[in-house]
C-alpha cells in the first residue's frame, strides 16, 4: 500500500492520466514472469509467406512460482506454444517475454522436459553425469556440480541410482532424471511437454504426486502440457484450455483453487471435470 502513495505526489498531476493508471496497475499487479501478448506463430511456405498460422492471438500470464497446465487435444498447437516459450521456435507476431526480456533463443532459465525421455537424456552418460550436464556446459567446477547434481538426484528420489545408465532405468526414473537435470541447472521455469504421457497408469499417478511435492519444495514455475483432463485437475493452479489449430489460442482459463494433494472425489474437482469435459465433447464449442 505504501507504494500507491507515490501517485499522490506532484508527479501525478504532471503525468497524463493513462500513464498514471498504468503505474497503478503495475504496482498492484506486478508484471508476471512470463508475459505473452497477442502472440502468433506462422509456419512459412516456400515463398516466405504465412502458410499455416498455427497459433494466433495467444495471451498468457504466468507468475513466479505458479503451476499452469495447458490442456488441449492432440495437434492443437500445445507443443508449438511450448517451443516458443523455451525459445526453440520463434514467434512471428505479438510479444513473448520472460522477466521483462523478449525471448529469442533458449536459455538456462527455461528448461524443457520432453515426453520421450529416451530422446532427451544422453544414453552414454550415467544418471549423475546426465544431471550435471547443464552445469558442465556452463563450466562449473567438477566438485561443485557433482554436489549440486547429488542434491537434486536426492530430491527427485533417485538416490542410489547415480551410476546407472539410462538403459537400466524405468520410464518413471528416466523422467525423474530429466527433472533433476533441469533443477540442477537452476532453471526457474520448467516447461513440461506431456511428460507422463508414455508412463503406465500407476507410475503416472506416482509421478504426478511426486511432481507436486518437488514443485512445493523448489518453488519453481511450471508450465505443464497435457491432453489428460484428470491430470490437469490434479496438478494445475490454473488450467488453460486451448482451441484447435490452425489459429489456436487460449480458449478459456480455469482457476482450480484446490489444496494439494488433490483427490478426484472433491466436489470442486468433479464440478471442474464436468465443465472442462464439456469443452471437449462433440461440438463442445472449441
Amino acid at each position: 500500500m505504501e507504494n500507491s502513495l507515490a501517485i499522490e505526489g506532484p508527479l501525478a498531476r504532471t503525468l497524463p492520466l493513462p500513464t498514471v493508471l498504468d503505474n497503478i496497475r503495475q504496482q498492484i499487479d506486478p508484471s508476471p514472469l512470463i508475459r505473452i501478448r497477442d502472440m502468433s506463430v506462422c509456419y512459412r511456405g516456400a515463398l516466405g509467406d504465412c502458410d499455416v498460422e498455427v497459433l494466433s492471438g495467444v495471451n498468457l500470464d504466468i507468475g513466479q512460482g505458479e503451476f499452469h497446465v495447458i490442456l488441449g487435444p492432440s495437434g492443437c498447437g500445445k507443443s508449438t506454444l511450448l517451443n516458443v516459450i523455451v525459445g526453440l521456435l520463434n514467434h512471428t507476431g505479438g510479444e513473448v517475454g520472460v522477466a521483462g526480456r523478449p525471448i529469442t533463443r533458449p536459455g538456462r532459465d527455461r528448461g524443457l522436459i520432453f515426453q520421450n525421455a529416451d530422446a532427451a537424456i544422453f544414453p552414454w552418460l550415467t544418471v549423475l553425469e546426465n544431471v550435471e550436464f547443464g552445469l558442465r556446459m556452463s563450466g562449473t567446477k567438477r566438485q561443485v556440480r557433482r554436489e549440486q547434481a547429488r542434491k537434486f538426484i536426492r530430491l527427485v528420489g533417485l538416490e542410489g541410482h547415480e551410476k546407472k545408465f539410462p538403459r537400466e532405468l524405468s520410464g518413471g526414473m528416466k523422467q525423474r532424471t530429466q527433472i533433476a537435470r533441469l533443477l540442477a541447472n537452476d532453471s526457474d521455469i520448467l516447461v513440461m511437454d506431456e511428460p507422463f504421457g508414455a508412463l503406465d497408469a500407476h507410475t503416472r499417478r506416482v509421478m504426478q504426486n511426486e511432481l507436486v511435492r518437488m514443485w512445493i519444495e523448489t518453488k519453481k514455475t511450471i508450465i505443464f502440457v497435457t491432453h489428460d483432463i484428470i491430470e490437469s485437475l490434479l496438478l494445475g493452479q490454473r488450467i488453460h484450455i486451448m482451441s484447435q489449430a490452425p489459429q489456436a489460442n487460449i480458449h478459456k482459463t480455469y482457476e482450480t483453487g484446490m489444496e494439494y494433494p488433490r483427490s478426484e472425489t472433491l466436489p470442486r474437482f468433479t464440478e471442474l471435470l464436468s465443465t472442462i469435459q464439456g469443452h471437449f465433447d462433440f461440438g463442445g464449442g472449441i
Binding site: P106, R108, L112, F114, F122, F133
Partner: protein, 299 residues
C-alpha cells in the same frame, strides 16, 4: 486373482495324477552320464563352430584336395605353402615384412581416420559443407587407390609418403560417409535438450554430436581398417623394398607361388587380428556409447 490361478497351477503340478512316473523324471545314473557326455560333445562342437576352427579346417582340407590335382610349383597345397613360409620365417623376412606393412597400414589408417571424422561431422552439421564436399566424396570414393598409384609416386616420391598417402586416401571415404550419416541420423530432440540446458554450438558438437555418432564412427573406422589393408598391396607393389605387398608381387619373379600364398595368408591374418583387437577395444573402452560386439545368432 492372479495369485489364485498361480496357486491352482502349483497344486495341480503337485498332484500325483499329472506328475510323470518318477523313473522317467529322474533318469538312471548311466543315462545321466550319457547325457553329460552328449552335452560336452555339443559344447565342444559349439566352440569349434564359434571360434571358426571348423571353417578353417574345411578351407584347408578343400585346398589340400584341389592341390592334389595340380603341380605343386604351380598350385602348392597347404603343406607346401607352410614349408615355403617356414623358409621365410627362418630368415626373418616374414616377420620383418609383416611389421613393415602393419606399420604403414596403421599410420595411414590413423591419419585417414583423424582427417575423415571432422569432415564427416561438418558434412552432417553444416549444410554448405555438405553441399560443397559431399558430391566430391561421392565421386572419388569410387576411384580406388590403385588408380592413383603412379600419380602418387610421381608426385610424392618413392618413399614412405606416397604409400601412406595412398592408404590415407583409401581409408578416408568410408569413415567420412559413416560419420556423416551418423550425424544426419541424430535425434534432433537430443540437440534441443542440450541447447535448452545452455550448451553452445561448439559444445553441442563435442558433447552431444560426437558421442552420439561414436557407434557410426566406430563402424566407419573398422571398415576403414579393411580398406587400409586392401590398399597396402597397391602401395607396396611399386617402389617398395619391404612389406607383404612387395613379397607377394616380387615372388612371381622367382616363381615361388608358395611365398605368394604365404604373403596372402599373412596379410589376412594381420587384418583379422587387428580387427579383433580393435573390436575388443571398442567393446571395453566405448561400451557406454552403445558399442557391443556382433550379436549372437537369433538374438
Amino acid at each position: 486373482m492372479a495369485e489364485a490361478i498361480a496357486g491352482g497351477v502349483l497344486t495341480a503340478k503337485k498332484s500325483p495324477l499329472t506328475v510323470p512316473p518318477s523313473g522317467r523324471e529322474r533318469p538312471r545314473p548311466k543315462a545321466g552320464l550319457k547325457q553329460a557326455t552328449l552335452a560336452k560333445v555339443r559344447a565342444v562342437i559349439k566352440f569349434l563352430l564359434d571360434s571358426g576352427i571348423i571353417s578353417w579346417g574345411l578351407l584347408f582340407a578343400g585346398w589340400g584336395v584341389i592341390a592334389l590335382f595340380y603341380d605343386p610349383t604351380f598350385f602348392p597345397g597347404p603343406i607346401e605353402t607352410v614349408q615355403g613360409a617356414w623358409e621365410l620365417i627362418l630368415d626373418g623376412t616374414l616377420l620383418k615384412f609383416s611389421l613393415v606393412s602393419l606399420y604403414r597400414v596403421f599410420k595411414g589408417w590413423v591419419i585417414g581416420s583423424i582427417i575423415a571424422v571432422p569432415i564427416g561431422l561438418l558434412i552432417g552439421r553444416i549444410r554448405l559443407v555438405k553441399q560443397l564436399v559431399e558430391p566430391l566424396v561421392d565421386y572419388f570414393r569410387f576411384i580406388p587407390a590403385i588408380a592413383f598409384l603412379t600419380l602418387f609416386i610421381m608426385w610424392f616420391g618413392v618413399g614412405e609418403r606416397s604409400k601412406v598417402l595412398l592408404i590415407v586416401y583409401n581409408t578416408c571415404f568410408i569413415v567420412i560417409v559413416n560419420t556423416a550419416s551418423g550425424v544426419l541420423s541424430i535425434d534432433q530432440r537430443r540437440i534441443q535438450a542440450a541447447r535448452t540446458l545452455g550448451a553452445s554450438e561448439l559444445k553441442i558438437v563435442l558433447h552431444v554430436l560426437l558421442p552420439e555418432c561414436i557407434p557410426h564412427i566406430f563402424t566407419g573406422v573398422r571398415l576403414g581398417l579393411g580398406s587400409a589393408f586392401t590398399s597396402i598391396i597397391a602401395a607396396e607393389m611399386l617402389a617398395a623394398k619391404e612389406g607383404l605387398g612387395y613379397l607377394i608381387f616380387t615372388s612371381r619373379l622367382y616363381f615361388r607361388i608358395d611365398w605368394i600364398m604365404s604373403g596372402i595368408i599373412m596379410l589376412g591374418l594381420l587384418g583379422y587380428f587387428t580387427d579383433r583387437v580393435f573390436r575388443a577395444f571398442g567393446r571395453v573402452a566405448l561400451k557406454r556409447y552403445g558399442i557391443s560386439d556382433i550379436k549372437e545368432f537369433g538374438q
